[in-house]
Amino acid sequence: MSSSLLYVINVVTTATVYAIFVLGLNLQFGFTGILNFGHVAFMAIAAYASVLLSLAGWPLIAAAAAGILLAGAASLLIGLPALRLREDYLAITTIGFAETVRIIINNEVELTRGPQGIFRFPIPFESWGLTPLGWRVAFMILCLVAMLAVYLILQRLTRSPWGRVLKAIREDEDAAIALGKNTRVFKLWSLALGSAIAGLAGILLAYLLSYINPREFLPLTTFTGWMIMVLGGAGSNLGVMVGSLLYFGLFSLTRPLESSGLLALGLTGQQVGALRIFLIGVFLVVLMMYRPQGLFGRKEELSLDR
């Protein structure tokens, strides 16, 4: 009983952390049209920075804040030269950047402990003396509060004149420039803010796993984020949160397959695992056929010529 409760809490927490991650991506792509295929890099930078600083004796909050700021600043490092590129070139550049970050983490063994990762570092609520289940619940609530805060900030920003400029850049940057907007500054802010949000998600992920390791920050994580965004509807902050819950919900809904009669039919556990991913893929394809705009996207917007 308590193990299935633990499982549900784990799914919700993971979905929440990813929702935060994708809210950042959605600001960049859904609202501004920036093709960031290296989103995971900012997760990794913030996670490592905050863990290493807290191990160096920084208070947890200060270490987390520094990690988030560093992720935002790192995005400017790539944004300043790369945001002049056309969107598909930017996509390639950001993938390259993310892989560079991961490979550096993997090889800077003295600083990051490389491929073996870091186990044992300070996490929130440690001193409260909670039971393992109690900690899981407390941490889930922390993640939900963080997600809600990010959501409310983004809702206010994307509905403001500031957000209107982002949308205009997404639609036609040259026309936005012709009307007197310094679009470069808006793109840099969008990139930095989205990356800082990814940083927050990275720090929460580190707490959730209670270890970090370069393998957690493979490009696949970025593409999981993209999948969630498309599923929920790019450009909808509510949509990407629901999308994340649905995505991880699908994983858990197919979980009973592992204990079903399929094993008796002669399939190995590994094959059943592959089947689960296959079924989720089929579901996503079918969803995209009938709701190409995602769950919360607007269909009319897809049929408009640009």
């Binding site: 206010r156 500031w162 009307l179 007197g180 408009l304």
Partner: protein, 256 residues
Amino acid sequence: MTADVLLDVRDVSRQFDGFWAVRGVSFSVPENQIAGLIGPNGAGKTTLFNVVTRYLAPSGGQIHFAGTRIDTLPTYAAARHGLVRTFQISRVFSRMTVLENMLFAAPGQVGEGLLPALLAPRRVARQEAELRARAEELLRYFRLDHMAGAYAGALSGGQRKLLEMARAVMLKPRMLLLDEPMAGVNPALKEQLLTYILDLRAQGITFLLIEHDIDMIMRICDRILVMAQGELIADGTPEQVRQDPRVIDAYLGASA
């Protein structure tokens, strides 16, 4: 009369890999004039437009607008000085509503700052209400008010032309550069656009327009500039230009 000069183009050139698309063009447009820029296809009209609005850097020469040198400033700065362009193919923001398109163009918005947008929602909302009133008034003027809530991508080609012009006017420009405003537009809408241009001029806006419809340009412009092969070959009133042998030659030469 130099005090009245609004746009001053001095010896402007632009080359692409050794090909001079615009070469040594000089002219100035006084305040409140409607100037037309004509010439056969490939004469360099759009290139000149792009250079004047800094979408392309000039290879040589200077451009002054209202006394400020603008060719050394970033592209977005031209509009801030009151020089606003439209494009040959209308470029409305498709997945934004007509009203949002209008609001976007307003200059000096507090809410475009990240911090006010986040922390001063009431101040932003007050300004939004003022801008909305102005946008709705302009939409009524351009007879687009019934479409205010629709996505701009759902507009017809003609409505897009109107929206693009309305959006430019929202910016309170001193001068509008229109790239083929009459292209692909039905006769009724042409008349309508012509009326708007004359009316906006009466309100103090200066115009420079590229146009292929010679009848239209002869009717509306105070003055016509003619380009051929990258150079300015004539500059005068419609009557003068019509009789200029170099102009006749350029057009006949191009079609022969």
